[in-house]
């Protein structure tokens, strides 16, 4: 008996009305792994994450979380089960303060004392958030907002963290910082991470395994280093 995957997609189809975005995605994420999904614009990367979270409904196939089918689980139940997403474009709550944003991450929890400790812990992890805790989320810079979005998701105490384009619109130096944090979360907390990225180079360097998505289908699956070395990938996604 092999180890049960944390997250598994079996031939998942989904889409927006008549537009079929996913045409049979199958992937596995093992406990403690960082897995990257790379692909071009509109390949279905973000839809994959939104389908896992139930925002986009599964039309065919199965999404399994720790061996349990979660197709029909409403999106708001997932954080209580330990599955949380940092959505594309951050989507923090712009007119709420940093503190309130973090409190909302812990929305389903009722252990106020522990929540306060966890918020303190987020401030230690992201000192800039501590400095700006009474500032409105919308007034933070892009990188700070991304950190806030990650910190907010960590407040749900996730076992699996889904990250959608954490490098979107950020300066290279900030992107590096964000990826360091991702690696740190994975190493220190043992959080399993499923990462969706356009920046294939960075994503594959951080990840242990990778999937390549094209027009709603997985076309390639391999260990991250061999994907990085793959000449096809280098040509298509690394611009060589």
């Amino acid at each position: 008996m092999s180890i049960q995957p944390m997250l598994e997609l079996k031939n998942v189809h989904s889409g927006y009305g008549s537009i079929k975005a996913l045409k049979g995605i199958s992937l596995k994420v093992m406990p403690g792994e960082i897995v990257a999904i790379i692909g071009a614009n509109g390949a279905g990367k973000s839809t994959t994450l939104m389908t896992i979270c139930g925002i986009v409904k599964v039309e065919k196939g199965e999404v399994l979380y720790r061996g349990k089918v979660i197709n029909k689980v409403p999106p708001e139940k997932l954080p209580t089960m330990g599955l949380c997403q940092v959505p594309e474009g951050r989507r923090i709550f712009p007119r709420l303060t940093v503190m309130e944003n973090l409190r909302l991450g812990a929305f389903y929890r009722d252990d106020t004392n522990q929540i306060m400790k966890d918020i303190q812990h987020s401030y230690e992890m992201f000192p800039i958030l501590g400095e700006r805790k009474s500032q409105k989320g919308g007034t933070l810079s892009g990188g700070e907002q991304q950190m806030l979005a990650i910190a907010r998701a960590l407040m749900t105490k996730p076992k699996v963290l889904l990250l959608d384009e954490p490098s979107l619109g950020l300066a290279p130096i900030i992107v590096q910082q964000i990826f360091d944090i991702i690696a740190q979360i994975n190493k220190e907390k043992g959080t399993t991470i499923l990462l969706v990225e356009q920046n294939a180079n960075l994503a594959l360097q951080a990840a242990s395994r990778g999937y390549v998505v094209e027009t709603g289908e997985i076309t390639l699956e391999d260990e991250a280093p061999s994907l990085l070395a793959n000449p096809k990938i280098r040509e298509a996604y690394l611009g060589e």
Binding site: I55, E76, L78, V98, L104, Y108
Partner: protein, 408 residues
């Protein structure tokens, strides 16, 4: 200074000529077909003079020519601000409460009457604030729940003879039910679509009230609704309770004040609770809220139902005060009025809404002579507000001071 004036005179002239063009059909064309210019020119020249003075002050302020006046004024304003911040909030609240308590002793019957409608509208405005200001759902049919509350009391009272205090919770309850019935199918919509659907449902409720002759007596309305009755202890011939009808407006004022205070406290507590935080997250970003584990549908329905309850309670008071209800009191214009009060005062801010209500109810009463220009002034006020104070008269404060977070 001449230089600055040269820059602004052109748009000013064009604007004033445009105003003249707009004003003339309003004031110059009479129903009997005659055309006059006299009145238009008079009103226009008043406006011209007034706005010219404003423009001059604006230009002079830009060139620092008014420094000799502006400086002391800003210093005084700064001083007032620092002292007002230095005083703790409870002093302000206490002062406001004392004024509210002794107000009917000084104001006449008319003044008390206006104050009662202010208080009822405060309750309505606070309820709508939960829906619009906190949960961020634009509701254009809000007044329908006010109607449901008012009709609940009127019907139960005239048909079954139930007293006010029995009907008051029932009014809230039925308004809540109506809110859930309307909310359940509509809250799947977002943004503009929701606004249109709520507008439709608001009208549906009004039309039902208008056409269900057997129950609501249709457009004739229901007459003879009893005022609030209370039991007072009487010490003649031993100790008994005697029932009084509260026909006196002053006493009614205190009950309306009680309602408004209860509403303000409830909304304040809700705002600073976990539920309030969930509502605000839905307003900010519904999908993100869902991803963070907020059951958006339930919380949206809850906001809608809460708003409806406040409207229902205010409606019961309305019926008890007017002692008459008819569908005419619950038109779309009323919904729009309440929404204006909330927006004018500042969405999400309780003192702002109180001020907004007071401004929109009391000012038209004070300036009764200018009644025919009311809508004109109203429109102008809204435009000026949106230019200078887009977040409302007293914008909601958001500095992360939710009660349980102070230690954090």
């Amino acid at each position: 200074m001449i230089q600055e004036f040269k820059k602004v005179w052109k748009p000013y002239t064009i604007g004033m000529l445009w105003l003249l063009g707009l004003l003339w059909p309003l004031l110059g064309i009479h129903p009997d077909g005659t055309l006059t210019f006299q009145k238009t020119i008079t009103v226009w020249s008043y406006l011209l003079a007034g706005s010219f003075v404003c423009l001059m002050i604006y230009v002079l302020k830009g060139t620092d020519s008014l420094k000799f006046i502006a400086d002391p004024i800003s210093r005084v304003a700064g001083n007032i601000k620092t002292t007002s911040i230095a005083l703790p909030t409870w002093i302000w609240l206490g002062a406001g409460l004392i004024v509210a308590l002794i107000y009917p002793q000084f104001a006449g019957r008319y003044g008390t009457d206006v104050a009662i409608s202010v208080l009822l509208y405060i309750c309505l405005g606070l309820g709508l604030n939960v829906v619009v200001g906190l949960a961020g759902m634009l509701d254009l049919g809000y007044i329908a729940f006010y109607g449901v509350g008012a009709y609940t009391y009127a019907i139960l009272n005239t048909t079954y003879g139930l007293g006010f205090w029995v009907c008051l919770p029932l009014s809230g309850f039925f308004a809540c039910i109506a809110g859930c019935i309307v909310g359940y199918p509509t809250l799947r919509m977002r943004g503009d679509y929701l606004a249109i659907v709520t507008l439709g449902f608001g009208e549906i409720i009004r039309i039902i009230l208008n056409n269900w002759m057997e129950l609501t007596n249709g457009p004739n309305g229901i007459l003879g609704v009893k005022p609030i009755g209370i039991f007072l202890p009487v010490f003649e011939n031993g100790f008994t309770f005697e029932h009084f009808w509260m026909k006196k407006l002053q006493l009614f004022y205190y009950f309306a004040l009680g309602l408004a205070i209860v509403a303000a406290l409830c909304v304040h507590r809700l705002n600073f609770s976990r539920v309030g935080r969930a509502w605000e997250s839905i307003r900010e970003d519904e999908t993100a809220a869902e991803l963070m584990g907020v059951n958006t549908f339930i919380y949206k329905l809850l906001a809608y139902a809460m708003g409806a309850i406040f409207a229902g309670l205010a409606g019961a008071f309305f019926a008890a005060r007017m002692r008459f209800v008819s569908p005419e009191s619950f038109t779309f214009l009323e919904s729009a009025m309440v929404l204006c009060m909330v927006v004018l005062g500042g969405m999400g801010s309780i003192p702002g809404i109180i001020l907004g209500v007071a401004a929109l109810i009391a000012l038209p009463e004070i300036f009764r002579e200018f009644e025919s220009y009311r809508m004109l002034i109203f429109g102008a006020t809204m435009v000026i507000m949106m230019l200078f104070r887009p977040a409302g008269l007293i914008p909601a404060k958001r500095v992360g001071t939710r009660s349980e977070e102070k230690e954090g």
